[in-house]
């Protein structure tokens, strides 16, 4: 990895233009990103620390936090396994329908999360295709935790695969072939060669996937049924509190989400930096 090169003098814009662009960019970031973030925290602490603590330790809030973590704990590993498998399949094999598979992986990005939620209601809801069968067997998916997990998994489906496919394409398969000729089986090849190679890219994808799993609102809102203490995730809990004019409590819970987002950002930055270092070196010796 060569160190970032200075842009050539020929490509450098005049000073006034650079200053203008910089001001515009900073103003945008300030207005749309930094200011709201400050607002979240200032509203959260507006009535003092005691109320903040009370708001986030309230039993409904705690249930929402627990549920959110549970959902992430299921959907993130599921999508990690799927993402690695899909990226492996797509970058290492030639098969019919490969382009279709790539498009399908992107589907959750293209579809509005609300529609994603509705699809599950239509499939698993009491009036849905599989509804009667599910009712008969006493399986509850919609307005219950399984539905929330399903909807979240759907929405966060592409993150890991999307991150790994270009990375694995750029890295090529020579090291894997080398491992093969040295007698490595599939399992040791994966743990000793593939995983270390894609490690940071994978971490990057998992972090993004996790952030989205925790923050997902639309799809979850449709399938959750908003049952307090049972099927409310953190974003849903924030909405309910806000609609009840409980502004301080709403912002207190929201500030937890914001903190999580900031932590994600730091981790993501770190993983992205390490991932770029794992790209193949220029082969010229």
């Amino acid at each position: 990895m060569s160190p970032a090169r200075k842009p050539s003098t020929a490509l450098r814009d005049p000073a006034w233009l650079r200053a203008l662009l910089l001001i515009v960019a900073l103003a945008f970031v300030g207005l749309f990103l930094v200011l709201p973030l400050i607002a979240v925290f200032s509203y959260a602490f507006e009535k003092g620390v005691a109320l903040f603590v009370a708001s986030v330790t309230d039993s409904d809030a705690r249930a929402a936090i627990r549920l959110t973590l549970l959902v992430a704990a299921i959907s993130v590993p599921a999508n990690t396994i799927f993402g690695v498998a899909a990226a492996w399949l797509i970058t290492r094999f030639r098969f019919a329908g490969k382009n279709l598979l790539i498009s399908l992986i992107d589907l959750p990005f293209a579809v509005s999360p609300v529609i994603a939620g509705l699809i599950y209601v239509l499939l698993f809801g009491a009036q849905g295709w599989l509804g009667p069968w599910l009712v008969e067997h006493h399986v509850k998916i919609i307005y219950a935790v399984p539905g929330i997990v399903l909807a979240t998994t759907f929405v966060t489906f592409p993150f890991v695969a999307r991150e790994l496919i270009p990375l694995m394409q750029a890295q090529g398969s020579e090291q894997e072939e080398a491992a093969l000729t040295l007698g490595a089986g599939g399992w040791s090849m994966f743990w000793r060669v593939v995983l270390p190679k894609i490690g940071w890219g994978l971490a990057y994808g998992v972090i993004l996937c996790n952030a989205r799993a925790i923050g997902e609102f639309g799809a979850v809102s449709v399938v959750s049924g908003h049952i307090r203490g049972l099927t409310n995730t953190m974003p849903l809990h924030v909405e309910i509190l806000y609609n009840e004019y409980n502004r301080t409590a709403a912002f207190a819970v929201a500030s937890l989400l914001a903190l999580l987002a900031l932590a994600t950002l730091v981790l993501k930055q770190l993983a992205g930096w390490r991932m770029r270092r794992s790209l193949p070196e220029s082969e010229a010796a």
Partner: protein, 338 residues
């Protein structure tokens, strides 16, 4: 271990890479697959390694059919063109890889592992760099790590894909002689791919010249040079003059419109002559130190004639504008090809 290939064919979706290859490689031999890029030589090497399965044909090691045996079960050492070292592992761990992935009860451990990896690193003269990472090595050092890693599994066949392609000229020469010396010591059956005829000539016992997925000629270097089997082999092994009968019939005695004489520059003799009847006109004379390179133009030829004379025998009368007579010490005649 000997290798026999019978009627090997391989096609990619849009092109034929191998078109009926028959080749047998003797145990302990060092064989070069030589050809222009796209001639199928790397594909053939990968077929031997088991990294590609042929569409047709049989691969045998020591008489045993291994055509459908997976790469990891063939015990073949493979050195990749760009080395394919494991960047996240040290030099020591790269070399140890093949030993660490062995079945549990066959896996050398502790001191035994250290000793074997240490021996290999000594063999490739990299003992001092065991704890470095590939990114901290020069091209030649990486190449030797790749070689040690391939040898760690004690292969009976060693395959090398353009082993010196990515190195600069001086390192390449050193490494080439070193590799030849290594082969003479360990006698593992070796096949290497190259597009550089000089490399093939310096290293190999025998050379298979490939073109369009076929083997044009298989011979030792000497024979290949003096007795090429086809115009392609002739042209591929370095500069050659192609002379029509009008020019060569006088001294070859071979007539007919189809007979083209192929003459190497150092077999072509130009002598100053006053007669313009069969003569060429000298265009450039270039002193190359030990030799002198002369280019002359003849009315019957599109390309200039190229002759290389040894300095001691160079006729000072040859200078630009001089009429010269053309003759050859040695030549090969092929019918005009299409």
């Amino acid at each position: 271990m000997s290798i026999e290939l019978a009627d090997i064919a391989y096609r990619y979706t849009d092109a034929v890479a191998l078109d009926g290859i028959d080749l047998s490689i003797e145990s302990g031999e060092l064989l070069a697959l030589l050809g222009p890029s796209g001639c199928g030589k790397t594909t053939l090497l990968r077929v031997i390694a088991g990294l590609e399965f042929p569409d047709r044909g049989v691969v045998r090691f020591e008489g045993r059919d291994v055509t459908r045996v997976a790469a990891r079960k063939r015990h073949v050492g493979f050195v990749f063109q760009h080395y394919a070292l494991f960047n996240h592992l040290t030099v020591f761990e790269n070399v140890a890889f093949g030993l660490r992935v062995r079945r549990f009860w066959k896996r050398p451990r502790g001191a035994e592992l250290k000793r074997r990896v240490g021996d290999l690193l000594e063999l490739v003269q990299l003992g001092a760099l065991a704890q470095r990472y590939p990114a901290q090595l020069s091209g030649g050092q990486r190449q030797r790590v790749a070689l040690a890693r391939a040898l760690a599994v004690e292969p009976e066949i060693l395959l090398l894909d353009e082993p010196f392609g990515a190195l600069d000229a001086r390192v390449r020469g050193d490494l080439r002689r070193w590799l030849r010396g290594l082969h003479d010591r360990i006698h593992v059956t070796s096949v290497f791919v190259t597009h550089d005829q000089e490399e093939a000539f310096e290293l190999a016992d025998r050379i298979a010249v490939m073109n369009h997925g076929r083997i044009e000629q298989l011979a030792d270097p000497e024979r290949l040079y003096t007795d090429p089997a086809s115009p392609f082999v002739c042209r591929f092994l370095g500069e050659v003059n192609e002379l029509p009968p009008a020019l060569h019939a006088r001294w070859t005695g071979v007539g007919g419109a189809d007979a083209i004489a192929f003459v190497r520059p150092h077999d072509l003799e130009l002598t100053p002559t006053p007669s313009a009847a069969v003569a060429a006109i000298v265009e450039t004379v270039r002193d190359l130190g030990a030799t002198v390179r002369i280019e002359a133009r003849h009315a019957a030829l599109q390309a200039p004639l190229v002759a290389i004379h040894e300095r001691g025998r160079f006729d000072a009368g040859i200078r630009p504008g001089q009429l010269v007579d053309v003759a050859a010490r040695r030549w090969v005649i092929f019918p005009r090809d299409t």
